[in-house]
């Protein structure tokens, strides 16, 4: 009899536990991609992750490596503290859009501009998820949330924050891209970007960030499939997918 060969399995970097994420939420896919990349690059035993405040605060229960919890928005500062004293480790922060683009704008901009040799996975679902669907800095114009009940009025609440475009302006950033995970081709592309982001850090090339457009069916008031479609129809036009900054040294990694 021919010997069996394992062609697909649960990543070692992911715990075999159910998550608390809502049905149709794409956090699960993004967690999985990170775990797969960490396994592929054989980084699990040297990785230190930072969980944010927001829906993904419990990420340390799902990832199977050392992790810290950061105060709201401070994950890049905590990651900086760890990486500076343990440059031999791989350090990444997982942040949502409230965490990174509202309360944590100072920390993310300065970490990027210092060329801090860390990786950030930025999950943008255009809403504060954990607190029940309030307006985030990334909420689209006219989008109804529990704190913009008649839709986001940009005259009153300002404009959605384009994080990848913003970070790309910093001299210190090495790799800045935006992806999504709404369909298999996008998921493959996102996985590749996360891998490149970690490789950027491994090569000591500086700050890397992957913005991932993500769904929040519960707070958007949609079915999972409706949410995927709404993201593609509404978020991608405002937040175009693509590479916003890839320095030559990162290009050369490919």
């Amino acid at each position: 009899m021919p010997e069996g060969k394992i062609v697909f399995k649960q990543p070692e970097a992911l715990e075999d536990v159910p998550t608390h994420y809502c049905p149709g939420c794409t956090h699960g896919i993004i967690h999985r991609l990170i775990a797969e990349v960490i396994d592929e690059l054989d980084l699990r035993e040297k990785t230190i992750g930072i969980a944010p405040v927001g829906c993904s605060v419990l990420a340390y229960h799902y990832f199977n490596f050392d992790m810290a919890e950061a105060a709201h928005g401070r994950a890049p500062a905590v990651a900086t503290g760890i990486k500076r004293v343990r440059p031999e480790n791989v350090v990444f922060a997982y942040q949502g859009d409230g965490d990174l683009a509202a309360i944590g704008t100072a920390e993310i901009i300065h970490a990027a501009n210092r060329a801090e040799n860390i990786t950030v996975v930025f999950v943008n679902n255009a809403v504060f998820g954990m607190t029940g669907g309030q307006m985030a800095p990334t909420t689209l114009p006219g989008q109804v949330t529990t704190s913009t009940p008649t839709g986001r009025d940009v005259k009153l609440a300002g404009y959605p924050m384009k994080v990848a475009e913003l970070i790309a302006q910093t001299t210190g950033a090495a790799y800045v891209v935006r992806r999504t995970v709404t369909r298999p081709k996008y998921i493959r592309s996102c996985r590749k970007a996360i891998k490149t982001a970690f490789e950027t850090q491994l090569a000591g090339l500086g700050f890397s960030i992957v913005e991932v457009l993500s769904t929040c069916p519960t707070n958007w008031g949609m079915s999972p499939l409706e949410a995927l479609k709404w993201l593609e129809d509404n978020m991608i036009p405002y937040y175009p997918l693509g590479d916003y900054k890839v320095i030559d040294e990162v290009e050369a990694l490919a």
């Binding site: 905590v78 503290g81 920390e107 300065h110």
Partner: protein
């Protein structure tokens, strides 16, 4: 050991280096900036980490990261900056991470001024941020004490896995005095909880969130047990001319130092006055102060504030002896003559 002339802020920085401080994160603010500047030069020379962060908020969270990674780490600031650090100090306490925080106090509230003050006592000793916690707080009155207490702060922080604060004032930070810099052999304890990468062991998690009431309560009971242990073991104070003293002055830091001169003058006049000077402000040296209620006719609390430590003294004395107070509110160091006048008033009122 050779004596050298050093400014308080620089002496604290050098003491931290000798205590094995692996990383320093700070932001400029008067009157502590020389500490940051000293670190910016010396830490890279030693191959250690120095980083000027974008804010005190960022710096204290960098401190949290470095502490979580198992290193000895320090930050320093002055009153308005320390207010910003309170978020991170609460998280340090909640996650039980050792770190040293220096507050060289200036006048407040708000922007106040850059003169010496002691008006952050409540903030320092009662927690300061959200939640039930206490940082350990040590108050130097000389540059030499600033050195010795900084070294002690690293030891206590590691021993109890707790944020530990050096609470000085602008005078301690700016004054130059001859000091002895001790040679220290830092011996940080093993830190099996630290984030180092999970090679050869289960993963470590550094967190303060416990969503359910039961687990959070259990967590807080553990923290409170630790604080009781600190209160039982780490009360520190010093005394000056307490023999036969009916007027017992209670003052810490620079106020305590000035009081000493005032007391000497009072003794020259035949007034039996003495000083009880707390060194640990948390834990407050309750036991030793309480034992003075048999001898004291009055406790006179002197502070460069509107009366904050005063409440701790009143809690210890519990009405057994009168407690009087004088404070200086402008960001100003009192003169020994002002202290002497107050001692005379106390002697007339309570001991004659």
């Amino acid at each position: 050991m050779a004596r050298v002339l050093m400014k308080g802020n620089e002496a604290i920085a050098e003491a931290a280096i000798r205590a094995g401080c692996d990383a320093y994160f700070g932001y400029p603010i008067t009157p502590q900036t020389e500490l940051l500047e000293y670190m910016s030069k010396r830490m890279p020379e030693l191959g250690r980490v120095f980083l000027q962060g974008e804010s005190e908020v960022a710096c204290i969270n960098m401190v949290l990261g470095a502490a979580a990674a198992g290193r000895r780490v320090m930050t320093s600031s002055s009153s308005p900056g320390v207010s910003l650090k309170q978020e991170g100090i609460s998280y340090l306490a909640g996650t039980e991470l050792p770190a040293v925080i220096v507050n060289i106090m200036r006048g407040g509230p708000g922007l106040g001024n850059v003169q010496p003050s002691q008006s952050d006592y409540f903030q320092a000793t009662k927690g300061g941020g959200h939640g039930d916690y206490f940082p350990i707080v040590l108050a130097p009155s000389t540059v030499q004490e600033a050195i010795d207490f900084t070294i002690l702060a690293f030891e206590l922080a590691d021993k109890y896995r707790n944020p530990t604060m050096i609470l000085g004032d602008g005078s301690i930070g700016q004054i130059m005095e001859p000091v002895e810099l001790p040679e220290v052999e830092p011996k940080p304890p093993p830190k099996p909880w630290a984030l180092t990468g999970c090679q050869g062991r289960e993963k470590n998690i550094v967190r303060s969130m416990y969503l359910l009431a039961g687990p959070l309560e259990a967590r807080n009971i553990i923290l409170q047990k630790k604080y009781r242990e600190i209160e039982a073991n780490e009360q520190r104070h010093t005394e000056y001319m307490l023999e036969g003293a009916g007027v017992v002055i209670v003052a810490y830091g620079t106020a305590g130092r000035v009081a000493q001169t005032g007391i000497k003058k009072a003794r020259d006049e035949g007034i039996l006055a003495g000083l009880f000077r707390p060194i640990s402000l948390y834990p407050y040296p309750k036991d030793a102060l309480s034992s003075l209620t048999d001898q004291a006719k009055v406790f006179l609390v002197l502070e460069m504030s509107a009366g904050q430590m005063l409440e701790d003294v009143e809690l210890v004395v519990k009405g057994r002896v009168p407690v009087d107070f004088q404070g200086w509110l402008g960001g100003r160091v009192p003169s020994p003559t002002e202290v002497l006048e107050k001692i005379r008033e106390m002697a007339d009122k309570y001991t004659s």
